[in-house]
């Protein structure tokens, strides 16, 4: 479990994550593939090098859907089990863009926290590995599908942990489109106000959203200046450079939250997607492209 990964090994894991999702996209007619292209290095770096998590307590196998939370169903297996037992010195990891669920499941598989066979249950009726999951889905601490809320939940958690004197940090994966939500800025305003220096946010800035390039749908730049203006420490990095991603986590941010702005490419490792930009929210692979994608898959 405590294996030290080299940067090259982490990059290789990221490619394997993309390879799993490319397979799903080919087998199922489509998947959130471009999100894997953009975020896999970030997520692999987090799981394998940046986060301080205990051993997974989650089942290695996919599980039948355990039911929604209710007064009679509060002890169902939570997605957070895959991040290990909560402890004062351990980190927590919140995933905000729930559309990245497949990337999280495949990352858990490549990190040995769930079996590779479990991926076969992705988006299969009646199982807990939904396309857009909730807090029963492996790797999910909260129900994140409605964008812009997880950052507040994570900040509330960081606030509580600061009050309780925990030394572990609260990490969040945020996507760039959801930064358009006003709640994200309310959250940073409050996180700076409460000096949450135990809150670290990695933003996947792939510059795309459903209806096109983010700069054309609703511009959010300049992000570094905006986050700094809201009282956070902002560090822009190449989101495919593992060494830079890891180094950014060590940035001093006394008395304020840290935001790592990861600039990424939605076609990384899958150059066949390049010509589809900016419409890459959900990548379908049609029959006439199948051979090309298969060829690429074999090379990955």
């Amino acid at each position: 479990m405590e294996k030290r990964y080299t940067d090259a090994e982490i990059s290789r894991v990221a490619t394997k994550i993309r390879k799993h999702i490319l397979r799903l996209a080919m087998e199922r007619g489509g998947c959130y593939l471009s999100q894997a292209c953009s975020s896999a290095d970030i997520i692999a770096s987090l799981y394998l090098k940046i986060l301080n998590l205990g051993p997974s307590l989650g089942s290695m196998d996919a599980q039948p859907f355990p039911g929604v939370p209710s007064p009679k169903n509060m002890d169902y297996p939570k997605g957070s089990l895959y991040h290990g037992a909560p402890a004062k010195d351990k980190d927590r990891f919140f995933v905000s863009p729930a559309h990245y669920a497949s990337v999280i499941y495949c990352a858990l598989a490549e990190c040995g926290r769930i079996s590779r066979e479990a991926i076969d249950k992705f988006n299969v009726d009646g199982w807990n590995m939904e396309m857009i999951g909730a807090e029963h889905s492996p790797g999910f601490e909260c129900t994140a599908g409605s964008l812009g809320q997880t950052i507040s939940i994570a900040a509330g958690t960081a606030h509580a942990r600061k009050l309780q004197g925990d030394t572990g940090k609260v990490y969040v994966l945020l996507s760039d489109g959801e930064i358009e939500e006003g709640q994200v800025w309310e959250a940073f305003q409050a996180a700076a106000f409460y000096k949450l220096d135990n809150l670290v946010v990695y933003v996947d800035i792939n510059g795309l959203q459903v209806e096109g390039y983010t700069k054309d749908v609703m511009n959010t730049e300049p992000l570094a200046e905006r986050f700094e203006a809201f009282g956070a420490k902002a560090v822009p990095v190449d989101g495919h450079d593992v060494a830079a991603l890891v180094k950014a986590s060590k940035t001093a941010h006394a008395g304020k939250p840290l935001v790592v702005l990861c600039y990424t490419d939605s076609a990384h490792d899958v150059p066949l997607l390049e010509k589809r930009k900016p419409f890459l929210h959900f990548a379908r692979i049609d029959a006439d492209e199948m051979e090309q994608f298969k060829e690429l898959y074999e090379q990955m």
Binding site: V68, P69, S70, P71, M74, A134, E135, E141, C142, T143, G145, S146, Q149, T150, S152, I153, A154, A155, G156, T157, A158, H159, A160, R161, Q164, G182, Q183, E186, A187, Q189, A190, F193, Y194
Partner: protein, 329 residues
Amino acid sequence: MIIETNTHSKCLIKWAEKHKEAVVLSADLGSSCEIKEFLQVYPDRYFSMGIAEQNMVSWAAGLCREGYRPYLHTFGVFLYRRVLDQLEMSVTYPNLPVTFVGFLPGIMTPGGVSHQSTNDVAVLRNIPNMTIFDMGDATEIESILQVAHDVNGPVFIRMLRKDVPRLFPADKPLIFNKARTLSSGTDITIISSSICTEEAMRAVGVLKQKGLSIQHMHVSTLKPFTDPSIPRAIAKSKYGVITMENHVTIGGLGSAVADVIAEKGLGKKLIKIGIQDTYCHGASKMYLLKKYGLDAMTLIAAVEKLTGQKLGIKERDLAEIRFEDYTAV
């Protein structure tokens, strides 16, 4: 009639002494929700979240996940209308024990439409895992923190502020999902909530003098709504049922009672007194009670309609209306 002042504030301070996990979140209106003193007594447990309710609701979910019990304080209207998605996805879906203390229910503010929480019960009643309470008097306010705590899930309280009458004995606390029977009878069942109970009480005495046998019940748990004493009372009422609520008549207490009548096959007529499918405007409580027909005389008219009798009751025959001065927005 005894009037109690700032009951919730006193109760919350007392509660926090025993419950170290209790924290207050305020969206810049804690002081208008009578808990200014809490900030003085427990400055470290009063989290100012600014005028940013959506973040406050999700933030509370994060605190809750770490074992805190957040009590959100602002006007009720901002705790459901503005934050519905946050309320559902951050709090009620995971069934977290966050307490929404929503002040100024219904017409209880001169602040007008933006400040009046007039369809909150309708919006919140269909939300899974949600429990809804509507405060009727000081005794209920004194009981509610314990009752809400025991629910151990998301709770919305329609809270009354400042000067609140004590209508029910101090030693008879609110019981979860249990209506209070204020008068027993078999001609008509009146089921009221919130400030409408005081109005109904003004009328019941006179109705009895006119020879009518009145069953009057006060409801403070609006969800769940499964108290068997309600259908029992309705079943024996000769002329039918009148509900009276400080809320629109679609989706609130009246609709809950209609469901009971239909589901139990009771086959009784129902008149729903409340705000009739309209927004309201800003004015005093007494003016709004009359303008929107939430007052005792509206109840008398409904009784006349159900019984087919003219009762000849005038406003001056009723117990005097209690003057309530509120100018604060």
